[in-house]
Amino acid sequence: MINAVLVFNNAGQPRLTKFYTQLETSVQQRLISEIFTLVANRPNSACNFLPLPPLLVNSSKSSTPTTPHNDTPSLVTYRHYATLYFIVISTSTESPLALLDLIQVFVQALDGLFENVCELDLIFNFETLHAALAEMIVGGVVVETQLDKVIEGVRSQGTVAKRPVNEGKGGMGFAGFGRGDGNIWAGR
């Protein structure tokens, strides 16, 4: 299952924190900071999977290293879009590649909701951000992976505000969003 979903920017400033286990606020911050340190040092060619941050390694050391327990968070997946890092911490029962696609769907959903989404949209509408996530993941279990259903679900809860007008000049209009290498949901 999924243990946590985090979004932070290039400076490590959190934009969304969602832990599917109850965790002390200070521990949450430490974990975010550790993951940020790991992720910020990644070279260009690196894969989208992080080694476990020290906070998670220490506690999982007790079980045998070769076969991590299925309940133990053992996979940290991330994707980096423009100024934001999207992180998913999960157990080994999740499929790593599918999680990458899941993040992609999440970002696409945000893009659909905000029309050319950028970090500012997420800062000023963090409730919508949470709502979009709740449409996809409930209690650490994925409930929806189809883009249109996610967007529809969020919209049904009320109109999605755009960011305040004086806050920015709008997105930069990049086309060709996504990887387009057959990694996105083919069955969608």
Binding site: N3, Q13, P43, P96, E127
Partner: protein, 1043 residues
């Protein structure tokens, strides 16, 4: 007053560059005030702001009650804010959870779908066992709600209920199953159910076998890749239980592998086939071979494909899962896997490292270790700035910093993913990890993979040099556990192990230990940064002591041991040092064949004087172990020294004089005895207890008397130098010199690199030049009579290196036949090669793989049946349970409770509960009853209180007035912790109560009845803080409270 909205807060943050901290503190203070307002809009906005700040680590647990207030607002907008705040801020110990339960139940039963969604999403975050069973009855009907979105979320919420209270799954499961089997069910709901079943599945696969046909249909129908992946994962756990599934699964799986365009699905198919044991099941058939080829081929393709590191990573993951069961499949891919060890990406390296440890054998060990060593040697050592532990605000929180408005936060996220471009240096823990893996690989199965132990010893020495510095805090006097963790000690342990187990390389091992001990080599042998690898000294010093007779240079070793810098070693190492030099000294002094000449006498006296000089300060060392050993040997050396000076030397040349017996006999006898052999861990316990062993009778009945005598006699020898040793102030211990520093320019002089050749190219890359030089000298020595050996030192150029080639080249105009050497095969002449003193020991002439005798562990009786199990248990269980129980991982959601819950509804009633289960169940039920009673009591009280308020409209008005007064009181008390809802205890509450009383008196004449009621209500209020809050909540939402 003008309140800030969330937008204002964020804007404000962005405009307060440099003073964010103050701004946030100020804002939180405002929120504390606003959140107590009766205006729901204001309250909700304040909560929103707090939730936003919580993201940055600002605690908002004090507002938990206000969260509940906002949750109970009838307005959807407020509710949503309240629920979000609850999800983000409620923790296990939040006490209002008990009250929130009521609200959750109410909202689950709401008629509007968006409102139902809120508790469904929130419950997984706040659920506890007592709540679970009470909420269950409200949740179950939602499984048949008309909206698919509600149904799918309910399924997941039910799963989370089952995690905290497994019994809830019993009533829920049949309904979930019904949804799954319903063909007309919305596909998204089916997908959610499959997700949940997949989570449940690996815990109790047997319960889901009956569903296999339906799941199979879903897999074949396809459509949703995410669901297909989950199905495949589920089937991989089912196939071991039901082999017939394999035949059925194979065609659709191979079809997906061939046809799908989604890489994730392809990958999961392959890993499902491998993990589900499908490969073994179809082994031998042509079909099976085809599948195996297909899977492994695809995995290999993932490894070699250019530009997608993710595929490389997951392929390694897949290989890692099968390396134990299918080693042959993995070793076929050895070439590509080994490439990954050097991948620039640390994640891939780690995976490859894990994998490689599993696939190592005697053929590839050298190559693998070589690669790893090269990595360690060539990568820059990570600076402390790169260490995640030192980075950023490690403490409590991050302050949201003020970004200027033109920051790149507006950049569209559509931007293609990007990352920084710098290669990371090797982090310390990775280094440690690599070294540990190397040691693991090499020592596996009592060194069964190693053919060349001389090579292994060289590797160990090299490892010491590349080991990272131990963290600065972990230097001395630490707990034993941490010290055992030190990587230097790990290496030392290996060196010791090899020296003892493999007799044929003992000289080499001692040689290596000797070179590690030498003080003047220290800069070369140990990394310049920090004290990395120094733990090895403990073992090296033991080796030079124990095997002192093998030492080639015992005297320099002794002086190194006695070097003033040794005093600064950790006490544990120092204790071993103390044990080592008497042994070395004994081996130096023990020769009774050499005459006791004046030179020898002087030499011995000098050595002993040095030892005494070294020991004296240590006799008051703070570490008891060191102190004790120092005192013992100090006495011994003083005795020996007296004996030496008292024995006259032979005056005449040639006359044999007996050396003092104390030196030649007594001291060596202390250290020589039975040969040391490795002993199996259980061997000691297999020694039978002698029948006549009587442990009860005291050995000496007069013990008490003897002890008291000893105390009396204790301090007789006052004048003696023993006393002096204890009382004299230590001089040299404190003034021990710092290690001699080398000038910086000398450090910069790069060691001269030996010219490389194909012969030693690989070793060159991971062994330091001096080790290579030594190896080369040995090799040259060994092959110098071999006409076919191409000497790398010889002339360069192809074909010129053999003696034959040289002749050809020198006289390339005309060939002089006579100068071609004709080798005489003088077999008898090829004795031990004459060498310098340093390589005096004859090494085995050929390095070609040879059979080395490795000593196994000694034990009694049969090796594999370790004594009687009860005694075995006596030692191990504490450790084992400690491991099994272990600390739960930070984010882990424990699902172990599900393991014992059977979902098989048929034989449910017939199932016999074990006594343990029964007891547990009873206990749980009793607990549940208590919790329910408590909840019910509170609810009744709440209800009564609110009824009173509602029925008497008058009272409500009055209460509102009082509320205003209350606010005034608080305003007048600035020192009161601002707006802490829970903090309104103690004096604050007292004050409020006082005001209330005054007010009540005023009210009384107006309406006796109402006042009476109010009095009662207040009685409740005063009795319990919690209840007071409940009332004010109902005030805030009078319409709501009517329900």
């Amino acid at each position: 007053m003008f309140e800030k909205s969330l937008y204002d807060l964020i804007r404000g943050l962005r405009n307060h560059k440099g003073t964010e901290k103050e701004y946030i503190d100020e804002s939180i203070k405002e929120c504390r005030k606003e959140i107590r307002s009766t205006d729901m809009d204001l309250k909700s906005t304040a909560l929103m702001k707090l939730t936003y700040l919580e993201m940055f680590g600002h605690d908002m647990s004090w507002a938990s009650f206000n969260v509940l207030e906002v949750m109970s607002s009838p307005k959807w907008r407020h509710k949503r804010t309240g629920y979000l705040a609850a999800v983000q801020s409620y923790r296990r110990d939040t006490d209002v959870l008990l009250l929130a339960e009521n609200q959750l139940k109410k909202d689950i039963s709401s008629p509007t779908p968006p409102v139902i969604t809120l508790p469904l999403v929130a419950i997984p975050h706040v659920i506890n066992p007592s709540m679970a069973s009470s909420v269950l009855s409200d949740l179950l009907p939602r499984l048949t709600h008309s909206h698919a979105a509600i149904r799918k979320k309910t399924v997941v919420t039910l799963y989370r209920l089952a995690l905290v209270y497994p019994e809830t799954l019993r009533p829920a499961w049949p309904k979930i199953k019904e949804r799954l089997l319903d063909d007309s069910e919305d596909p998204t709901v089916t997908a959610a159910i499959v997700n949940v079943i997949c989570e449940l599945g690996w815990r109790r696969p047997q319960d889901f076998l009956p569903l296999a046909p339906r799941l199979f249909d879903l897999l074949v129908e396809g459509g949703n890749n995410w669901m297909a992946i989950k199905l495949i994962k589920l089937f991989a756990t089912l196939t071991p239980l039901e082999p017939r599934l394999i035949k059925k699964l194979l065609p659709p799986l191979t079809k997906i592998i061939r046809e799908t365009s989604a890489m994730s699905l392809l990958y999961e198919c392959i890993s499902g086939i491998i993990q589900g044991g499908i490969l073994e099941a179809v082994e031998g058939t042509t079909e099976g071979e085809e599948v195996a080829r297909l899977c492994v081929g695809k995995l290999r393709g993932m490894m070699v494909i250019e530009g997608d590191a993710n595929l490389k990573y997951v392929a390694l993951l897949a290989f890692d899962k099968i390396v134990q069961s299918h080693p042959y499949l993995v070793s076929q891919q050895q070439d590509v896997i080994l490439e990954c060890i050097d991948d620039p990406d640390i994640s891939i390296r780690m995976r490859a490292l894990d994998l490689v440890v599993g696939m190592v054998n005697s053929d590839n060990l050298t190559a693998i270790v070589g690669r790893l060593m090269r990595q360690l040697r060539n990568a820059p050592i990570a600076t402390s700035a790169d260490n995640p532990a030192n980075d950023r605000a490690r403490a409590t929180g991050v302050t949201p910093y003020a970004e200027s408005d033109d920051s790149d936060a507006e950049e569209s996220l559509r931007h293609h993913e990007q990352r920084s471009d710098q290669p990371p240096p090797l982090p310390e823990d990775y280094r440690v990890n690599v070294i540990r893996r190397i040691l693991d690989m090499c020592s596996r199965d009592t060194y069964s993979n190693i053919t060349d132990f001389e090579w292994y010893i060289d590797v160990l020495v090299q490892l010491v040099r590349v080991s990272p510095a131990t963290s600065s805090s972990a230097v001395e006097e630490q707990s034993d556990f941490d010290q055992a963790d030190d990587i230097g000690r790990g290496i030392g342990c290996e060196l010791q192990n090899v020296a003892i187990r493999v007799k044929s390389v003992r000289p080499e091992a001692v040689d290596a230990a000797q070179s590690l001990i030498f003080v003047d080599l220290r800069d070369q042998m140990f990394p310049s940064s920090g004290n990395g690898g120094q733990g090895v000294l403990e073992y090296a010093s033991w080796l030079v002591g124990e095997f002192a007779s093998y030492l080639t240079k015992p005297e320099p070793v002794l002086s190194s041991l006695l070097h003033p810098t040794s005093l600064q070693l950790p006490s544990k190492t120092l204790a071993v040092y103390l044990q080592a030099f008497p042994k070395v000294f004994a081996s130096l002094a023990s020769n009774e064949q050499i005459s006791w000449t004046p030179e020898r006498k002087t030499l011995m006296s000098l050595l002993m004087a040095r030892i005494i000089h070294f020991l004296e300060p240590l006799s008051i060392h703070p570490n008891l172990e060191v102190q004790e050993r120092a005192v013992e040997y100090l006495e011994l050396m003083r005795l020996a020294s007296e004996a030496a000076s008292g024995t006259d030397t032979g005056v005449e040349h040639g006359e044999f004089t007996e050396p003092p017996l104390l030196l030649t006999q007594a001291i060596p006898a202390l250290f020589s005895g039975a040969e040391l052999n490795p002993v199996a861990p259980g061997a000691q316990r297999q020694v039978p207890i002698p029948d006549d062993l009587d442990l009860d009778t005291p050995i000496n009945p007069n013990l008490q008397y003897l002890l008291s005598q000893a105390e009396l006699e204790g301090f007789e020898a006052d004048e003696d130098d023993v006393y002096a040793a204890y009382t004299e102030p230590p001089e040299s211990y404190t003034e021990a010199q710092a290690p001699v520093a080398i000038s910086a320019s000398e450090r910069l002089d790069a060691p001269h690199k030996e010219p490389t050749s194909y012969q030693n190219a690989t070793e060159d890359e991971y062994l330091d030049p001096d080790i290579i030089a030594r190896r080369k000298a040995e090799r040259k020595e060994r092959y110098k009579d071999d006409p076919f050996y191409i000497d790398p030192e010889g002339d360069r150029g192809s074909g010129a290196a053999t003696p034959l080639g040289r002749i050809v080249r020198e006289n390339n105009t005309e060939l002089d036949i006579d100068s071609i050497p004709i080798m005489d095969l003088e077999l008898e002449k090829r004795g031990p090669s004459p060498g310098g003193e340093d390589i005096a020991r004859a090494r085995s002439p050929r390095r070609a793989p040879r059979q080395v005798e490795i000593m196994g562990d000694e034990t009694l009786g049969s090796n594999d049946a370790p004594s009687d199990p009860s005694r075995e248990d006596a030692i191990s269980p504490r450790f084992a349970t400690a491991q099994a129980r272990g600390k739960k991982s930070l984010l882990e959601v424990d699902s172990s409770g599900l393991g014992s819950l059977s979902l098989d509804d048929d034989d449910n009633s017939g199932r016999k509960l074990t006594r343990f289960e029964l007891e547990r169940k009873e206990q749980e039920e009793a607990e549940m009853k208590r919790a329910l009673a408590e909840v019910e009591r509170l609810r009744l009280e709440m209800q009564r209180a609110s009824e009173r308020l509602e029925v008497k409209g008058e009272t409500v008005v009055k209460k509102k007035k009082r509320k205003v007064r209350k606010a005034e009181v608080e305003g007048a008390l600035p020192q009161e912790p601002a707006g802490d809802a829970e903090g309104a205890t103690g004096d604050g509450e007292g004050e409020v109560a006082l005001v209330k009383k005054k007010k009540k008196k005023k009210v009384k004449p107006e309406g006796g009845d109402a006042a009476e009621e109010g009095k009662e209500a207040e009685g409740v209020v005063k009795k319990k803080k919690k209840k007071r809050r409940v009332i004010s909540m109902d005030e805030g939402a009078p319409v709501d409270a009517e329900e």
